[in-house]
Amino acid sequence: MRRSIILAGATVTALALTACGSGSSDSAESAAPEATESAATAEGTLTMWVDDTRIGEMQPVVDAFTEKTGVEVDLVQKASGDIGPDFVAQVPTGEGPDIITSAHDGLGEWVNNGVVAPIELGDKADGFAPAAMAAMAYDGQTYGVPLSIENIALVRNNDLLDETSATTFDELVEQAKGAGTEFSVLIQQGEESDPYHLYPLQTSFGAPVFAQADDGSYTSDIEMGGDAGHAFSEYLAKLGDEDVLDISIDGEKAKQAFLDGDAPYILTGPWNTTAFTEAGMDISVLPIPSAGGEPSQPFVGVQGVFISAKSENPVLANEFVANYLTTEEAQDVLYTEGGRTPALTASAAKVDDPILTGFNDAGMEGAPMPAIPEMSSVWGFWGTTEAQVVDGQADADTAWDQMVDNIQGAIDAG
């Protein structure tokens, strides 16, 4: 009896421990920054969270900054999916980082939870692509410094097919099937599908997730319901039926299949093309043909740097983020080391890589990724429903309607 109670208690409370883990046991750690501050030797230390694909390019930038100012920046590698949620969970406890790098789509949630501090860039803001600056703003206030712009596009294996004349997605699939490979057009899926990678198809049916106001910012009015949504959902079911889409093909498997030459096309982003070129593949990057008649718009994500609202080193953090990362010098290094389109216009002008230019062209038409907090309610339902439709578990139209209802419900409840 006693043992089982303890056991049950342990399992149950594991949850509480993860939620408040830093509360009791880390008292020793939190004393550390205090000590460095009072010692007031020129340098404080900034803690910065970076995901695994960016830590390599951030290191030389940070080193240069340290050399210049004497301020140490401690880079902590985190999984990209954990940065946002952990930021929300840890900042209120005072244990969070000073700075994070992340895609901008979590911004609304951070502002709503009060964990991110506004940044004033003054005239420096003019040096950035307007779309990138817009992504860093929420409710009329700027919260971050944009680093790079990213979107997905169609990548072709030139050894299998050397030209693309298709104007619609159906033609593209048709042509790809002619290549005689196991897959035609790879779009990564998974148990919860992948609304991000399917979004160009969805927008080509005229069913964007939220309505956009005149200035390009998103409102919380769901736009993906109705007939346009049904048309897209039915199209998904059709692609699933034809085995173009398969929820057992996740990101890793799609990448591997394309690397193995098992498909002439893949819809993916610049984060994967390095691996393709390194493997000696000859690839071209193209815009995505429309499936439903309207332009297919991929989500355009902006990677940015954000400062914690409870940073103990606000001045140093601003010195690094607002005054150093906005320089051409820093953005140039990020580009040469990381190979992503820089958000600073002056640095972006130096990009001459045909692959990156291809992504840029595909992103011209793109839609900014919504950063409103409602977005966090959307992803789960969206992916789950798409997976069910692709896999034929649910009727395309009813499942889509149900999803729209659920998202509306979650938005109303939140």
């Binding site: 009896m1 006693r2 089982s4 056991l7 049950a8 208690g9 149950v12 409370t13 949850l15 509480a16 421990l17 939620a19 408040c20 009791s24 008292s27 020793a28 004393a31 205090e34 501050e37 007031a40 030797t41 020129a42 340098e43 404080g44 949620p85 929300v88 969970a89 949630e109 709503n112 009060g114 506004p118 004033e120 009329g140 148990e191 919860e192 057992s248 093909i249 103990e312 080193n313 606000p314 001045v315 601003n318 010195e319 607002a322 005054n323 907090p373 309610s377 789960g380 339902f381 789950t384 429903t385 997976a387 069910q388 896999d391 578990q393 499942a399 149900q402 659920n406 419900g409 939140g414």
Partner: protein, 545 residues
């Protein structure tokens, strides 16, 4: 499936203290003073001294650290714990405490505190939008709603001190102006400017970068009025070198505890739900944590969209836990009986091989199985079934079967182990007597082996049931709860059990709701506790054989 084999009990900390000095001679009266210790200094005592000294050192460090960050609760706990430890190990009357203290302290830290905290969270609205204190919320709302005055200039700025007071010096049209929180900017013609930055001012000091780094929060909180007219805004800096003119869009009034919109005059006052709300229902974010009574506990039952799936998950949790115990026990027992027969050759090798699944970490095995059961690429479909496409993990019914089968693979070695042990404890003369009485094999199994086995194994079966009831790692790693239900307000699926549903509610369904998740955890805790209690009461009857 990692089984609950770890036994809670007295830890063996402080080796050597278990044997009081001269235990054999049986001294009745405890000797007084330090003299006694001095006389029987043995290696054991030295070890004890070293260990307790270490505990004291760690504890003192913790106390100082807690003092530094003003965590009084932690500080008080550490002081009490340290006193308890020292008393237990240096008092001669505290023999029992010597064994119990380490266990009790860990019990308090890891169990009771965590449970108490979970219970506390269950009664609050902790989650997205309400994840900190009211003070934090006020500070953040003020910060987010302080807007730069449109079209205003940016000023090169230097942080200065005049006496003790912190201030800013700015260059405005080539002229240096100095001000502080109380004193609006005034021209200072005697200041020295080199290369566009101010290097010295009369009756004051210019702060170096080092000094600035030492007083960061003071500097970012400083607002220096631009002029005597409050409407003109005030200058603040974020980086210590550039100043911008700001004007608050929302002003907090401490006396009435409200926010007032400086343009429209709308008043936002604190609501019971943990937000500042205007009269027409506009909420300011972020909010803060407040108590919400029992509403988290009823959340699952009041939402009509959730009722069906919740009932289904509830039922499946019991089915899953029961079937897991039954199948693993049946297979384990069968194998144990088989390999208990002396006619089987190479029993040791078989037995060792059968333990293997138990030796692999459950997390890893579940993950490997999820790969092997992949519909298109999995080893099972591809190789064993010759390219068939059986939807092992994506069909609701089949996914449940897969979960049970994988858990059978993971769990039977444990049952095999314990039943093998229990079987060998059954006296063989009893079996022989039964045989002489003419009982058949089945009859012997039903009436002798099984009841005898149950006496020792039944409590473990109940523990196994409780464990599987909360077997989060298997579900999470194997199916992630999927395939998901269609049309539920949380992302939950057909193979989700209660605990994985809690995880989904807390972390995966868009907005995080720690309050609801904690409430559900407590419900699960009560359920498991109840089942175990009933179960153990029943087992007592088995022992009366």
């Amino acid at each position: 499936m990692t089984h609950p084999t770890a036994v809670e009990g007295p830890t063996t900390a402080g080796s050597g203290n278990g044997s009081p000095p001269e235990d054999s001679s049986g001294t009745r009266r405890p000797r007084r003073g330090w003299a006694s210790h001095a006389r029987d200094v043995r290696p054991g005592f030295l070890v004890k001294l070293a260990l307790v000294a270490l505990a004291n050192a760690v504890g003192l460090y913790g106390i100082l650290a807690a003092w530094a960050v003003q965590s009084w609760g932690i500080l008080a706990f550490l002081v009490l714990a340290l006193v308890a430890v020292d008393w237990a190990y240096f008092s001669r009357r505290a023999l029992a405490a010597k064994y119990l203290v380490p266990g009790l302290i860990f019990l308090f830290v890891y169990q009771i505190f965590a449970m108490g905290y979970t219970a506390y969270v269950a009664f609050t609205n902790y989650g997205d939008g309400h994840n900190s204190t009211k003070d934090d919320a006020i500070a953040q709302i003020s910060e987010q709603n302080e807007r730069r005055v449109e079209g205003s200039a940016s000023y090169p700025l230097t942080v200065v001190t005049q006496g003790d007071e912190l201030g800013f010096a700015i260059v405005d049209d080539g002229q240096v102006r100095v001000g502080s929180a109380e004193q609006p900017f005034e021209a200072e013609p005697d200041a020295v400017v080199e290369n566009g930055s101010i290097t010295s001012i009369p009756d004051g000091d210019v702060l170096s970068f080092v000094d600035v780094a030492g007083r960061q929060s003071e500097i970012t909180q400083l607002r220096v009025p631009l002029s005597d007219d409050p409407e003109s805004g005030s200058i603040r800096t974020q980086d210590g070198s550039t100043g911008f003119v700001y004007q608050p869009a929302l002003a907090y009034d401490e006396d009435s505890d409200t926010f007032v919109d400086t343009e429209t005059g709308t008043v936002y006052s604190p609501s019971g739900g943990g937000n500042f709300v205007s009269a027409d229902g506009q909420e300011l974010t972020p909010g803060w944590r407040v108590g919400v009574g029992f509403s988290n506990f009823s959340a699952m039952f009041t939402d009509s969209r959730m009722a069906g799936p919740f009932a289904s998950i509830f039922g499946w949790t019991f089915v899953f836990a029961a079937l897991s115990v039954l199948t693993t026990f049946a297979l384990g027992l069968f194998l144990a009986i088989t390999f208990n027969d002396e006619r089987v050759r190479g029993r040791k090798i078989y037995r060792s091989l059968l333990i293997l699944p138990y030796a692999f970490p459950g997390f890893l095995s579940a993950l490997v199985w999820s790969g092997m059961l992949n519909e298109r690429f999995g080893f099972v479909n591809e190789v064993l079934l010759g390219g068939a496409s059986v939807p092992w993990l994506t069909d609701p019914t089949l996914a449940k079967v897969s979960v049970i089968l994988v858990n059978l693979w993971l769990g039977f070695p444990y049952m095999f182990l314990i039943t093998t042990g229990a079987l060998q404890a059954i006296p063989s003369d009893m079996m022989e007597a039964a045989k002489i009485d003419g009982a058949g094999r089945w009859r012997m199994f039903r009436s002798l082996t099984l009841p005898m086995l149950m006496v020792s194994v039944a409590p473990l079966l109940i523990a196994s049931f409780a464990f599987n009831f909360n077997n989060f790692s298997l579900i999470f790693m194997l199916t992630g709860g999927g395939p998901n239900f269609v049309g539920t307000p949380y992302v939950v699926g057909h193979t989700d059990i209660l605990i994985s549903m809690v995880y989904s509610v807390a972390f995966e369904s868009g907005s995080k709701q720690y309050g609801v998740a904690s409430a559900l955890s407590i419900l699960i805790f009560i359920m498991v506790g109840l089942i175990s209690w009933i179960g153990f009461r029943r087992t007592r009857k088995l022992e009366e054989l």
